[in-house]
């Protein structure tokens, strides 16, 4: 466990304590803005620094891959951005409505996938008589129209994640935060879902922050790849991915860039052996 005094570090960087998560219109091109976000868990000797002065911006309509080994605080960061947690110091703002997707679909098992989506619509305040129609449209957009009356456990992992994507879209999300959403899927399904996600991203003009520990997936999807260090989580490096789309995970150019990033990632992991 790394025990660092976050106060000193913040002073070193000259970052000021700002109001925490603020959701609303901000006059800028950035949809996601994180400034010197620090998150400390626990008190005294038990304190753990999960995030240490993270700076991150995501422009409107951009897809950014967030790459990190274990302990990089990526779940903490996503929780903060989704409004489920607050930074201890620093600020994190998201402009627009946030949708969050996890590795497991988090669909409600007792509801059919259509009702999972109508529930999201209900919580968003969509009138009752419009919900079913909207849900069916959303399911059709992820090609699950034939499975609306199935329950999540009656579907395959890939279908569940598509249903979860539809539910995130049902929130009318502008910003989609994705926490290793395809991590548990087999290779072919995963590749198809990359294509599907790219299509939804374009069609809905989404802004996506995609957390993964798979370097090639990060390069395949991202306009940029942001590499986080572990324990505490900090932005270690940012790589611009200028490769033309559509891309595929097995493209030579994707593999080459991924290899370069992997080298850095290994360095980062190795550095912890000396701690």
């Amino acid at each position: 466990m790394t025990l660092t005094d976050p106060g000193t570090r913040i002073d070193d960087r000259g970052t000021v304590d700002q109001p925490a998560v603020a959701v609303g219109p901000v006059v800028s091109d950035n949809t996601v803005t994180v400034r010197g976000a620090t998150r400390v868990f626990g008190h005294g000797r038990e304190r753990v620094l999960a995030l240490d002065g993270v700076d991150l911006t995501v422009r409107r309509g951009e897809m950014v891959s967030l790459l990190g080994a274990s302990g990089c605080g990526k779940s903490t960061l996503l929780n903060i951005l989704a409004g489920l947690d607050r930074p201890t110091t620093g600020s994190a703002t998201v402009e627009g409505r946030v949708g969050l997707m996890f590795q497991e679909s988090a669909l409600f098992p007792w509801l059919t996938i259509r009702n999972n989506i109508t529930t999201a619509l209900r919580l968003r305040g969509v009138p009752r008589n419009e919900r079913k129609g909207r849900a069916d449209e959303l399911l059709a957009s992820v090609h699950l129209e034939g499975f609306a009356d199935r329950r999540p456990h009656e579907l395959s992992g890939g279908m569940r994640q598509r249903a979860a994507l539809a539910r995130a879209l049902a929130q009318n999300a502008d910003v989609l935060l994705m926490d290793e959403p395809f991590g548990a899927l087999d290779a072919i399904t995963r590749e198809l879902l990359h294509d599907e996600l790219e299509r939804q991203w374009r069609e809905h003009g989404l802004t996506i922050l995609f957390v993964t520990h798979d370097v090639r997936e990060a390069v395949r999807l991202g306009d940029r790849v942001v590499l986080l260090s572990s324990r505490p989580g900090r932005v270690k490096a940012t790589f611009d991915v200028t490769l033309p789309r559509p891309r595929h995970i097995d493209d030579v150019a994707v593999s080459e860039l991924a290899a370069a990033i992997t080298t850095e990632l290994h360095e980062e992991v190795r550095s912890h052996a000396r701690d």
């Binding site: 409600f108 579907l155 198809l192």
Partner: protein, 297 residues
């Protein structure tokens, strides 16, 4: 590999649709259908066999002359008594009285236990205050409540209901509490992301997620209720109300062993039926709905 890469890269929207549909068709779990008759038979024959074995042991015990025949009559004498008392309406009348008590008492227990369970699982303070007390109440044998119940309510329906509710309500409350404790944090997080909070989150996520455990609590609550009820009916005999318990006590007083044993068989059958038919069906339905059944099993 390059071929596949090129293939997938060149997918236009239509091809992606086709490939997704193909994958869905392949991945969609197929369940082999079994005929209803087959299912019924495979569920029934082990039970019939068990009844047969039980009867055999009963015959052996009687045949061994371990006790004189007026204390331990032949099973067929008991069964024929069971038949005549059913046919002349005596047993059905008693069952009706007892089941009516069971139903109304259980309903009160569900109401009280459910309310307490929801309150305790919603408020931490209440949880700390009476959480362990509820479990303690559950371990208290219901028979221990009767002296107090008789003092409070005299020999009346009230005394029986009082003890029945005290027996069943803690189990039901515990079902609600442990259900909401066991809700997956992932689902709660999912619900919060969708914008549910406070009671909305409870209604949308916590409560439905805890239904399987709630059914378990109801089932356990019923077992407690049924035991408390019969204990109550033996102790608290309300004049002119010929319940199952009163019948049992009466048969003992009159040395009517076939009458006593046939009543015991009725108690056993009612217990099994309610447990298997009512709660078993409910449990299977919920487990299937909630995806708690192993598809391979």
């Amino acid at each position: 590999m390059t071929d596949l890469a090129n293939h997938v890269r060149n997918l236009d929207a239509e091809a992606l649709d086709a490939e997704l549909a193909g994958l869905d068709a392949l991945e969609f779990p197929h369940e082999p259908r079994r005929s209803l008759g087959h299912a019924l038979w495979s569920a029934t024959w082990p039970k019939l066999a068990a009844i047969g074995v039980g009867l055999g042991i009963w015959y052996l015990v009687v045949w061994s002359d371990w006790k004189p025949k007026y204390l331990l009559p032949w099973p067929h004498d008991v069964l024929s008594r069971l038949w005549t008392d059913t046919a002349n309406g005596k047993l059905p009348d008693s069952i009706a009285i007892t089941m009516q008590r069971a139903a109304s008492g259980f309903a009160i227990a569900v109401l009280i236990g459910g309310t307490v369970g929801v309150l305790v699982s919603r408020w931490k303070v209440l949880r700390v205050a009476i959480g362990s007390f509820i479990t303690g109440l559950q371990t208290m044998p219901s028979i221990a409540w009767f002296p107090l119940a008789i003092l409070l309510f005299k020999l009346s329906e009230g005394a029986i209901t009082f003890v029945l509710v005290l027996g069943a309500a803690p189990a039901i409350a515990n079902g609600v509490i442990s259900g909401s404790d066991q809700v997956s944090p992932l689902l709660l997080r999912g619900g919060k992301v969708l914008g549910a909070k406070g009671f909305g989150l409870y209604r949308t996520v916590t409560f439905p997620a805890s239904v399987p455990s709630l059914i378990g609590g109801l089932k356990q609550g019923w077992a407690f209720a049924w035991r408390s009820l019969l204990a109550g009916e033996l102790l608290v005999i309300v004049p002119k109300v010929f319940s199952i318990g009163a019948r049992l006590q009466n048969a003992r007083d009159l040395f009517d062993v076939p009458g006593l044993q046939s009543t015991m068989i009725v108690i056993l059958i009612v217990g099994i039926l309610v447990d298997a038919v009512v709660f078993g069906t409910l449990e299977r339905f919920v487990r299937k709905r909630w995806g708690l059944v192993d598809p391979a099993g």
